[in-house]
Symmetry: C2
Subunit: 202 residues, 2 copies
DNA sequence: CGTGCCTTTGACCACTTGGTCAAATCAAGC
DNA sequence: GCTTGATTTGACCAAGTGGTCAAAGGCACG
């Protein structure tokens, strides 16, 4: 599924440097707000040189977005029917929160795309994403039927986990402004654990 | 505090038409992603005519943003110490969710600004917003001390309300993609009521 | 009707932006 | 060191952009 793999070592290095720089710039300014020159400078390359490795600005953006979508959904894929229900869900929350802490740029890039109507990944949302969520909603319904957790709408449960964890990455500026610069993550982890335990524990 | 009030009726009308068009365009494409021509067309005016009413693209954006900030915080301002604690908080959640439903453009405009680091409203966040939240956090602490709700970090409680309600406006595309186009709001209201009741009811 | 002010516009400008291209440079095998 | 292909770059371009301006069109009021 990956595009023609880079052949030389230097290509591999430059391509990943560019993607890294692109993530930096795109996540901060959005697609239209970012310029090729900005990315080139962040990558330490000249603009024509950058365009030797990627055919266009959009190609960089798309490659970031697509490779992102996969890793972004990994924590949800790991939500398995085996194991106890509540700890499984709490683990998912923790994994998602850890991603917000450790990969805020990825979260923001994604958020920006969705915010603008997701014109470039609408199909993936209605396809792979919906399929995955439908599947996991079934898992949650089984847990409810088995009395392992309280009754709850599985879709809104998943939405609420997304919303609460990504908020700390996407709205970091606001959160830190209100907290006076304090690191929100330790408190957030404790808060979310309590919140979902109260709601779900039978 | 308002800029020189419009004098003639036609000025008043055109200015508000432009702001309406600006909200449409900015909320969809962000500040840098929007062009003056786009806004002018959406407003049914020529570009120079639009710039007769506002000195620049940024002036439109700033006026929207500032007038927004006020109305956006109104629901939180209405969170009062009198009345019973839990219904008061649930009302706040409902008001916030209603705003996400009825004013999604405003929510997205705000979200876009925060996402990019809030360069134009950082001061307001660290000032008015922080002051207001600090104040309401005190109210919540009193409720906890009086045993009216369970112990909870007031700041993360407020963040969680923001995150959960705004998610339905800001990530509307994603939510609807997963739900297959179904209206998420009725379900969301019920889910959020249950969630916060479980967590807070003593 | 005429006057003065508000409103509207076509033409224009300087600058930014994504992208191209031919020529130069470099690196590795012979 | 020579050749060949990969890499890098300076110069350039067409389109898009925010914003200006002088002139024209409306409109209310005497």
């Amino acid at each position: 599924m990956t595009k023609s793999a880079p052949r030389t070592r230097i290509q591999e290095k430059n391509r990943s440097t560019i993607l890294e720089a692109g993530l930096d710039v795109f996540s901060q300014f959005g697609f239209r707000g970012s310029t090729v020159d900005q990315i080139a400078e962040a990558a330490g390359l000249s603009k024509p040189n950058l365009l030797y490795y990627f055919p266009s600005k959009e190609a960089i953006y798309l490659e970031l977005l697509n490779s992102l979508l996969d890793t972004w959904l990994d924590p949800l894929r790991a939500l398995n029917d085996d194991g106890k229900a509540l700890p499984e869900i709490l683990d998912y929350v923790k994994r998602k929160l850890a991603m917000a802490r450790d990969f805020p740029r990825e979260s923001r890039l994604f958020a920006g795309e969705i915010l603008q109507g997701a014109p470039r990944i609408e199909d993936a949302l209605k396809g792979d994403l919906k399929t995955l969520v439908d599947e996991k909603a079934q898992v949650i319904r089984h847990w409810i039927a088995a009395g392992k957790i309280k009754e709850v709408d599985p879709y809104h449960l998943i939405f609420s986990i997304w919303a609460l964890t990504q908020h700390y990455a996407d709205f970091d500026t606001q959160v830190r402004a209100v907290l006076g610069g304090q690191d929100p993550f330790p408190g957030a982890e404790h808060y979310l654990e309590q919140l979902f335990t109260s709601r779900l524990k039978p």
